[in-house]
Symmetry: C2
Subunit: 906 residues, 2 copies
């Protein structure tokens, strides 16, 4: 951010070629003021006005209202005259009054935080002049009614502090509606509005002891000071604190002529886009209404009409209207006001070129004169985003860096996952909200048990939470819905890895496994009922909603190629299966940053052997079971290595507590006891023995390898034998062995010794060697604090920010669902820290760990393999901290590549 330019000029005009400011003066004029000035400067017809600078706001706090008026009086008077000249109206005039608005405008947008007053300049006399001039009595009185109401609320403090308390103006209006037997504001007639103005003014007098000011200048100064005051209002202060906005920035005040699109058949109002926001096609488009206000276009009471003739014809076709009907009842602006249309077309073109991005504009035609009210970069779908950026690049409008920076990485998701068909979606009812755990759309019939997912051709698996035993069913189901768990719960992590839609932590769901029902606010859904999930929004919808899979465009490929051209940080993937690995390669992953070996043990034929190992009470028994697991692990690794085509593959040694592998249901326990020819009691004892109060902080990670070195030995053997087997076939392999949950050098060395000794033995057996490295996951706060020590021995670090977040914040990702939503709602947290890296807290530890690690070993390779590896702001953070790579689930690889490129460009 620029330092505020010091100046003695307090008021900056805009609205004609003599505009004083431009868009670089954001700090002084605020965002809105700078943009209005910019448009004025390049000749866009914005309603004229002026901006009182942010510096005045700061002065106001020091010198108070009277002195501020003295300071501003001359400049404001002149600026008002300038508006009068342009508009041909006079402020305070009884016949031809100039109406103005007063709005706040800080450096950064603070939506809804500060106040606005419209229609200033009206009083008991001017309202009559306006009615006469516009030939619209109702319009004039409604404008006046709005002024008195807003002024009363904003300037005179009539608005109740507690939003549950009764608003006296609204109360008044409600009483009149009841009396008149009407229900909408629009049903008030001119007389009603006159009466309301009277009543409002009486109310103001009664409550504040002051009259509503009829002097327009008094109105103006009151509104300006109210805007300054609102900068220090409760809501604004709170918003600033949460968003880290300094109090001394202050707000600017924008004073601008009012223009009206509802002054008769020669007036209109509308919105338009320079390109198609849905498809990205380079087609000017938009909607308008004759004799209407801006709010009428979006309110849906009248059907908006298309701006271009082409658009209008297409619309009529879809609406099944005849050309005659269309031309008569819904003509385009191009047909109705060809001159203004031409002007608008020219301006939209100019603005897109000027702002180098697709624009979303608002305009009003008052009595035949076109005014542009606002322009901003337009919102768009993911598909449109990619197409627009690449088109503009091809058109020479922007360069490669600009094209990349124009993209919002997270929106790429829309291109990679199924989406709902929009028509179906409009009719579907959202029955509950969960967390958007894994993006995409899914529809299917409810099943409650993973092993019954195949029961329907399209199923949605609904669970309290999922566990590794559910993997197969999760793979079969179209989508996954859980009542518990957060953004990094088992269901969420696995689903993202699979690229499968998932909504987690939907607390409103009550699941009854026995009855096979789920209840949401009293409504009961049964097995077999159709539901749909929106994994990008966390919505749960009733019934079947059609989905479609988007095709990856050439433009998408071009965006990816451009990203790799600029990114300096690499992107790898978290993948446990050759299938995931291949998907990730397709999306451009340059290696595996995290292969979780434990997921491999959950397959049906393996889990039994794994359990046998766990239940063995002797070293010999464990070794026997491990020998049986060896060939399976070896073939897993062969698959992963082969899929990665010589790119590095980071294999994490066994991490989860053994408790996760043993059966917890009586039936399965019995089965296991029979299989192993041991007593049920001994199975139960073992399960009880393995139980932990806080498994997250328990006997897991390298603590397993230290207490059972034979597990580390077996895994090392599987890795090395796989690598040697492939090498013998001429396939390049690049294994990196990662020791999990290390908190001290001693732990690292203890496991390193086992790995090196085992590897040496195997190399002798094979008469060949493999280049490999040994590193560790940095995932306890302690390991970041002593990173220098660990780096003495470790070849690489990989920040495991999922666990690091859990421990640094003391948030269990599986339990945080109980308070996280409340925290987000109350504004105690801006983001879910499992989704967006908590840079203020956890980030300090990442920075420290990276710095200390590199301090001890400048060549240390550093990556990050938490879920944050695919979240754009976190990717930027990693780039800024000099990380070598991030690793994320396959479907987030494109997002991370783009984010990495943007970070490098910035």
């Amino acid at each position: 951010m620029n330092a505020t330019v010091s100046t003695t000029k307090n008021v900056f005009r805009f609205g004609d070629k003599n505009t004083d400011g431009d868009r670089t003066m954001r700090n002084l004029l605020g965002g809105k003021g700078a943009n209005l000035a910019e448009m004025g400067r390049i000749g866009i017809p914005v309603p004229p006005g002026f901006t009182i600078t942010t510096e005045v706001c700061t002065k106001y706090n020091a010198i108070g209202k009277e002195q501020t008026i003295v300071l501003l009086e001359e400049e404001v008077t002149n600026a008002i005259k300038n508006i009068e000249n342009i508009m041909g109206t006079t402020f305070g005039d009884a016949k031809n009054p100039l109406l103005i608005s007063v709005r706040s405008g800080a450096r950064v947008s603070m939506p809804g935080m500060m106040d606005t007053v419209l229609n200033l300049g009206l009083n008991d006399k001017a309202v009559l002049g306006l009615a006469k001039k516009t030939q619209n009595e109702r319009f004039a009185w409604d404008s006046y009614r709005r002024l008195v109401q807003m002024y009363g609320n904003v300037v005179l403090g009539m608005k109740p502090e507690n939003k549950d308390d009764e608003d006296p103006f609204e109360h008044c209006m409600a009483e009149l509606k009841a009396e008149r037997g009407i229900s909408l504001d629009t049903e008030f007639n001119a007389e009603d509005l006159q009466r309301l103005v009277r009543e409002f003014k009486a109310l103001i007098k009664e409550r504040t002891g002051h009259d509503f000011p009829s002097d327009p200048w008094e109105q103006l100064w009151g509104a300006v000071m109210a805007v300054f005051n609102s900068w220090n209002g409760k809501r604004a202060v709170y918003y600033r604190k949460i968003n880290g906005i300094p109090a001394d920035w202050g707000t600017a005040v924008n004073v601008q002529a009012m223009v009206f699109g509802n002054m008769g058949s020669n007036s209109a109002t509308g919105v338009c886009f320079t390109r198609d926001a849905a498809t990205g096609l380079n087609q000017f488009n938009g909607e308008y209404l004759i004799d209407a206000q801006g709010e009428d276009v979006v309110a849906g009471v009248r059907t908006p009409q298309q701006i271009t003739l082409e658009g209008s014809k297409k619309w009529a076709e879809l609406a099944k209207l005849t050309e005659e009907d269309r031309a008569k009842n819904y003509p385009s602006l191009q047909e109705v006001m060809p001159k203004q249309y031409q002007e608008l077309f020219m301006y939209q073109n100019q603005l897109e070129i000027h702002y180098r991005d697709m624009q979303d504009m608002e305009f009003t035609i008052q009595d035949g004169k076109l005014w542009i009210l606002q322009t901003r970069n337009g919102k768009r779908t993911g598909t449109a985003m990619v197409k627009i950026a690449i088109d503009m690049l091809r058109e020479g409008l922007i360069n490669e860096k600009e094209a990349l920076l124009q993209l919002s990485p997270n929106k790429l998701d829309e291109l990679l996952h199924p989406v709902f068909d929009l028509k179906g979606l409009k009719q579907a009812k959202v029955i509950a909200q969960g967390l958007p755990a894994s993006p995409g759309a899914a529809t299917g019939q409810i099943v409650f048990f993973a092993d019954e997912a195949h029961k329907f051709k399209n199923s949605i698996l609904v669970r309290m939470e999922t566990s590794p035993e559910d993997l197969e069913g999760m793979n079969i189901a179209n989508g996954i819905l859980t009542a518990r768990g957060g953004m990094t719960s088992h269901a969420a992590v696995v689903a993202r890895g699979m690229g499968k839609c998932c909504v987690s932590g939907a607390g409103a769901l009550k699941i009854n496994y026995k009855k096979r029902t789920m209840t949401v606010e009293g409504y009961e859904y049964h097995e077999g009922d159709w539901i749909s999930l929106d994994g990008s929004k966390g919505h749960i919808l009733e019934g079947k909603v059609a989905t479609m899979v988007p095709l990856l465009s050439d433009e998408f490929a071009e965006v990816m190629a451009l990203s790799d051209k600029y990114a300096t940080m690499k992107v790898r993937t978290n993948a446990d299966t050759p299938k995931d690995a291949r998907t990730a390669r397709k999306f451009g992953a340059l290696g595996i940053g995290l292969a979780r070996t434990e997921h491999m043990f959950f397959e049906v034929d393996r889990i039994k052997t794994m359990r046998e190992m766990i239940l063995a009470n002797t070293l010999k028994g464990r070794k026997l079971a491990l020998e049986a697991l060896l060939p399976m692990q070896r073939s897993d690794f062969e698959g992963l290595f082969e899929a990665m085509e010589g790119h590095p593959v980071t294999v994490r040694l066994l991490d989860p507590p053994l408790h996760e592998f043993v059966p917890h249901q009586l039936a399965t326990q019995k089965e296991l006891a029979e299989d192993l020819h041991i007593s049920l009691a001994s199975v139960k004892n073992k399960v009880a023995e393995l139980h932990e109060f806080n498994p997250m902080l328990g006997h897991r990670g390298c603590r397993l390898g230290i207490t059972y070195p034979e597990i580390t030995e077996m895994q090392t053997r599987a890795i090395m034998e796989a690598a040697l087997n492939l090498k013998a076939k001429g396939i390049m392999v690049n294994p990196e062995i990662m020791i999990p949950l290390v908190g001290s050098l001693e732990e690292f060395e203890s496991q390193e010794a086992v790995i090196r000794t085992t590897a040496e033995t195997i190399f002798k057996e094979y008469g060949d060697v493999i280049d490999y490295t040994i590193g560790t996951m940095i995932e306890t706060p302690r390991s970041t604090l002593i990173a220098d020590t660990i780096a003495e021995r470790a070849d690489f670090f990989s920040f495991g920010t999922n666990d690091l977040t859990q421990m640094t914040l003391g948030f269990s990702r599986d339990d945080a669902g109980k308070f996280l939503p409340i925290y987000l709602e109350k504004g105690l947290l801006k983001d879910d820290p499992f989704e967006v890296l908590d840079q203020e807290g956890v980030g300090q530890l990442v920075t420290l760990g990276a710095k200390r690690g590199r301090g001890a070993k400048p060549t240390l390779k550093i990556g990050l393999c938490g879920e944050h590896g695919g979240e754009p702001t976190s990717v930027t953070f990693c780039h800024d901290n000099g990380l070598d790579y991030v690793s994320c689930s396959p479907y987030r690889v494109p997002i991370a590549r783009l984010a990495a490129a943007q970070a490098a460009i910035r």
Copy 2:
């Protein structure tokens, strides 16, 4: 530690008044060398010798053996001549040989890590001279046998690397024993020993290809280099790493004349103490044997005799010997060798005065000549420790600071808790080892359920683990034994608070609640069986062992008063009940640093209301239940405030997850459902809903107060009303409200607002105010990282290092029992981090948090209220970090006070 003094002198002599070094030269001469020099310097007859400096060790590593000999040759030759002069023997002489020892000696003691060779100077000729001179052929050959064996092992590398491999020398000896039908080394006669020397030498030749060197000088250089080499031996390197000893310190080598107490009836050997190590009485005492070696005194083959006549008579009385029998068979040294006794008496006096502490000495009388081999500060009981320090202070031997520094804070524990009667203890069998969770001794009959603790007059409560529901039973039982849980498990923390003996985490115990048995390695113990616990050592003993409660002496009171005179950091207590608070006041606590309000809810009459609150599904329902809890909490606080007599009382708001309060057994659930007139299902549902995977990281701490502000309101009301009620009675109150588990400023502010608003309301109601402060527990890693932000609003910080340790290390204190013992055994950890603050890791966060907190608010009050608050090294750490106070369980208050004083003095 001092920097090594640079010098060109490589060899420092000791043993007569011309001794070169003194005790300040530890870095250069090592600990042993500096002490020998010091004794020589002050005229104590130590066997003469010399020290080769630590600097030579460093040089040796650079220049190798040959160059080192060149470097040392002249100095060593002169130093050997000096020994010969003093001893009247000649190195290498066939008739009157000088025998020497070569020992390592680093700056700090590294017990057992490096090598020693004795009896150097013997060879085939000298052994005959020695036999003739001593008239003891067996002695001469045994000395020679030892030399060859040690030299072979240490210098020539005959010792097998793997300790399970066969030692060739031991094998030889075993074969000879079998042949001769004997079993002890002492049964070898001179011929046997001659044969062993022959066989040993042949073995050396066979295995190494070299002869055992008969040249004494070759022997000497070999041994010196072996000591240097041992500095870089595997064990030593490992030991250094664990203990943070730099490799470049090097070791010194001590070469010293051998003296023998087994050269006939004019020789003797013994150990003595300048004061009584058990009682602290100022009485010289010790044991000796005529014609014996040092090892004979401790071996127990012969009965050692008393040194003083008075001691001898007392001993005889206890042993029920007649005076005649005593005087004939077990005379004192005072009677047998009055001249040497007088000399010894003089030296012990001199040494105690010189070292200003009770000394533990070893001496040998060789052929009538007294040699002092070693002196060091003597080990002593807690009682003796206190008495000796205060006696010496009164005697003017030491000053107040020295008296305090002489004390070992942890040993004060022995004075505060019951201890076993020593006689009974000797006969008792230790059946298992657990963690020394709460010190003291206890004996009683086994009960397995807390509510049956009253079943026996003396009971020991044996549980898998305890929970808050067991509180009452824990209070009744004499001691508590758990199979699970660590040093900060529920059982451990609560027991320490109660000052009750507890052994936790005894993994060998298998408990069968149904059968009411506990099994340890196959042995079954039943309800009602007597067992005993040593909570200071973690021992579980079979049967009834008598205990006794020590009386607090005047000397103890004097130590405490002295401590307070010097300590700058205050000591508070963790107390939840007026009883604990009063105990802590008795021990000198200057306030409560942690009052856990939740413990108050577990009492029988309250837990029901608490559960009613939890089960209420509406705000109204919760408020009703909270209203019922209010008067109970208020009276709790009144009790605490009153007990603390105006000292600050830090009340922590509700912290544990609500799950801890609901019943988990069907019977109790049914009862609760009936009490509240709700269905069993709804009780069960609530219990299931509250279940958490990792409650430690779950919905607890301020997260409760944020989701249920009404709880914070009630607790604030209880605190303030209690304070106001007492104030009305003229009792001073100083409440500090502590918000737990804060991780962000927003959390703090959210709770602070509730507290302040509630307090204001109450102050208005009462028409009076209370001075109070609001602070927070710093117990998540994040809170330390953003401490500056939180300090902007908080009045005080209290480091909760229990939880901070759990989160920083990722160690669940309730589960770490599964791997902590293995970590400690393998040397991966030096201490249990829940017992001794992990200064390297967690300590960094404490330092950071304190620094950032004070940086933002210099007046910030900072304390620590984890279990570490009563552990001396951690207390020192707190002092060094400028903390204002530590808070610990009542029975550790004296320890913390002493440790704080020591830290201030140091």
